[in-house]
């Protein structure tokens, strides 16, 4: 096929795509005009039904909690896949994180980077836990909080050496935390079945004050477990990739 023919095929296909795209666009509802019935319905009843003022969390962990279990396990399986694909192969061995040449100093981390990373680690951990444990009160949640917690581990890596990162997040611990996080979510749902309620039904006391930290029953609890799972999964993924940079074939 000559370049000229290829260009023609592309132009025809491109024009077709553009036409379909514009046709689809013309059928969309106006900007900011949501036509579905669910948004207004949820906004009307969610706070009264769940006592959670973080309505997004109420939707994620209660109204469509079953979908969120699936999403949780997408991340779980992804982390497992990374760990499987990046396992040390036969003939690969880990070299020490320190420079092997005795007479040559490894380039030190600049003090500016160390300082910033050190200053941020504490506040990032605090913010992460806060987000993961306040899903019921505001637009935070286990996912956002969990990833923020994982970035705290990245900061520890940036501020020092890989060995310190490994000491703070040993693979065994992240694996267990991942399992506890993902399993906890499922177990909360199964407990509802044990009580003759639908799976993931919100069976815990909802509290009396909407938007209080103690409110919203299982929503807050599920968000907490999601936080653990997400933090562990992302720390595990980053840890596996860091391990890779230290591997070499013998």
């Amino acid at each position: 096929m000559t370049p000229r023919q290829r260009r023609w095929i592309f132009l025809i296909a491109g024009a077709g795509l553009a036409a379909f795209y514009l046709w689809g666009l013309s059928g969309l509802p106006g900007f900011g005009h949501y036509p579905g019935p669910y948004g207004p319905a949820i906004l009307r009843i969610a706070v009264a039904q769940t006592n959670a003022t973080g309505v997004v969390s109420a939707i994620n962990f209660d109204y469509r909690g079953f979908d969120t279990v699936g999403e949780e396990f997408i991340l779980f399986v992804a982390a497992m896949g990374v760990a499987t694909v990046l396992r040390p192969l036969r003939g690969e061995r880990e070299r020490p994180a320190l420079d092997e040449a005795a007479d040559r100093d490894a380039p030190p981390t600049s003090s500016a980077v160390r300082m910033v990373a050190l200053l941020f680690t504490g506040p990032v951990v605090l913010a992460g836990w806060w987000l993961a444990s306040h899903a019921q009160t505001n637009p935070s949640g286990g996912f956002q909080g969990g990833i923020l917690l994982a970035t705290a581990f990245i900061l520890i890596y940036l501020s020092g050496e890989f060995l310190v990162f490994e000491r703070f997040s040993p693979a065994d611990l992240t694996d267990v935390a991942e399992a506890v996080g993902a399993g906890g979510f499922v177990a909360i749902g199964l407990a509802a079945i044990a009580m003759n309620l639908p799976y993931l039904d919100n069976y815990l006391p909802l509290g009396t004050i909407p938007g209080a930290v103690s409110s919203s029953g299982t929503i807050a609890l599920i968000s907490f477990f999601v936080g653990i799972e997400v933090a562990a999964a992302f720390t595990a993924i980053v840890g596996e990739l860091l391990d890779q940079t230290l591997l070499r074939s013998a």
Binding site: F31, G32, H33, V56, T151, V238, T245
Partner: protein, 95 residues
């Protein structure tokens, strides 16, 4: 677009909100184009991180603060770190 003016103690005038949203949409489009056009991998990662921040601010202006938090952590921090680590692995000369 007037339906976007939700009345809270922090209500922003509709015209100003429209201007902000249009500005951010243009910036996000420019950022995405820049990510594609930059060819040097490390620079591309830095631009990708900047693009993540832009996208996060866009979500905030469109009243989705929960998505903002996710985008800020995933798009601006974790994804660039993962790509940088991959580049470090690929670039290391095999001995």
């Amino acid at each position: 677009m007037s339906t976007l003016a939700v009345h809270t103690p922090y209500t922003v005038p509709v015209g100003m909100m429209d201007a902000l949203q249009v500005t951010l949409l243009v910036l996000v489009a420019a950022g995405a184009t820049a990510v594609v056009l930059i060819r040097a991998p490390v620079r591309q990662v830095l631009m990708l991180s900047t693009y993540g921040v832009l996208l996060a601010v866009l979500f905030l202006a469109f009243q989705a603060p929960d998505v903002t938090l996710s985008e800020l952590t995933v798009g601006a921090v974790v994804l660039p770190v993962v790509i940088l680590l991959t580049l470090a692995k690929v670039r290391k000369p095999e001995q």
